[in-house]
């Protein structure tokens, strides 16, 4: 990362074309697997796996984590979403490399320090995880997948995501603008 390659990062793809690409990937998931995309479920499986290594008794009693371990007949990480999420990482890296956009940096507005931004990133991640676990899905599993399937709960969820985000945006303007 230290060697700066003297070529400019390419601009992002037209959002509508990227959206069609994303939609076709989602459609491929429906056609092959009969399920949509996801992300937060993989994190739950990962947490269950780590916790099971540290405190198996706790996980066995946990009503939320124990289903991710199951009866022990197959590895908790040998799950569809976990493999998919590893693919997301690889795919994003591939696209970033091709476009010269891989760069070690911190995304923030000009008026906020790195420390504050990273603390807020951590807090936001926590809040997001609790919300996603509660709603049985995140932006990918609920909004995107459920949106295309016209799933009633997913549409309610999606409206609330935008609602919640716009509601707090004003208070956090110093972080971003």
């Amino acid at each position: 990362m230290a060697t700066t390659i003297p070529h400019r990062a390419q601009p992002y793809t037209n959002p509508y074309l990227a959206g069609i690409g994303l939609g076709l990937v989602l459609l491929a998931a429906f056609v092959t697997m009969g399920r949509g995309l996801g992300a937060s479920g993989a994190f739950s499986a990962f947490v269950a796996w780590v916790a099971n290594g540290v405190a198996p008794g706790y996980v066995a009693r946990s009503e939320y984590l124990s289903p991710y371990i199951g009866d022990g007949s197959s590895h908790p990480l040998k799950a569809w979403l976990v493999f998919e999420v590893v693919g997301v990482f690889a795919g994003a890296l591939l696209s970033g490399l091709l476009a010269g956009r891989v760069k070690r940096t911190i995304e923030k507005g000009p008026r906020v320090s790195n420390g504050v931004r990273l603390s807020l990133a951590f807090a936001g991640g926590m809040l997001m995880a609790i919300g996603a676990d509660l709603a049985r899905g995140c932006t990918s599993g609920q909004a995107l997948t459920g949106g295309a399937l016209l799933n009633a709960g997913s549409w309610a969820f999606m409206m609330c995501v935008f609602g919640g985000a716009y509601a707090v945006a004003w208070f956090l303007r110093r972080e971003w603008t």
């Binding site: 994303l22 009969g34 947490v47 807090a123 985000a165």
Partner: protein, 199 residues
């Protein structure tokens, strides 16, 4: 003829993991292409300067929805075999609000934070650590949140079923809504740009 292929037993569990990886690559690739590895690009949605989140998300929804509708219409895909997350009104409303707030505070959602991490964003990595901590907290708080988690259970339900409308009508309505939204997004972006130039 018989999609979803997996549900018709055309490949097994092991092969499905390879499919998962391949689909994940496609997912991550287009997330990054759209600029969703950058928190500033994502969050601009909520400051109305760049509505790419809305555009990409709704284009993807419309594309996949039309694809599903046509495949099911041709009889190539059995829509009833596609998994629907059961609707739990209360849990999904509260979860959605929390998630939306977390989106602006942290700058990402779970999928995009991975794309950010992959492209070197340190805040993306920290965000992922936050997700892991949040998942632990949720598991610890589950006994308290259990009531909310299960509240408002409506089963697997689609909008056409909820409103007793034909599937095709809802599809058309969503397309119209999305196109209207895209037009509106252009107007809003134009206005923010003009506002910036004015100072």
């Amino acid at each position: 003829m018989s999609a979803p292929l997996f549900k018709y037993g055309l490949f097994g569990d092991e092969a499905s993991l390879l499919v998962a990886f391949a689909i994940g690559i496609g997912f991550g690739f287009f997330l990054e292409r759209a600029g969703f590895g950058s928190a500033r690009k994502l969050v601009a949605q909520f400051y109305l300067t760049d509505l790419a989140v809305f555009k990409v998300m709704f284009t993807a929804i419309v594309t996949a929805m039309l694809g599903l509708t046509y495949l099911a219409w041709m009889g190539a895909l059995d829509l009833s075999l596609v998994y629907l997350v059961p609707t739990h009104w209360a849990a999904q409303v509260v979860g959605g609000l929390l998630l939306g707030a977390g989106f602006v505070i942290g700058g990402y959602c779970p999928g995009t934070s991975l794309a950010a991490m992959a492209t070197g964003r340190v805040d993306g990595l920290v965000y992922v650590l936050g997700i892991l901590a949040g998942t632990m907290s949720f598991a610890a708080l589950f006994p308290v949140l259990r009531g909310l988690y299960l509240a408002g259970d409506a089963g697997a339900k689609t909008l056409p079923q909820l409103f007793h409308l034909p599937h095709g009508l809802v599809v058309f309505a969503v397309v119209l809504m999305a196109l209207g939204g895209f037009y509106g997004a252009g107007v809003i972006e134009g206005r923010s740009r003009a506002g910036e130039e004015r100072g």
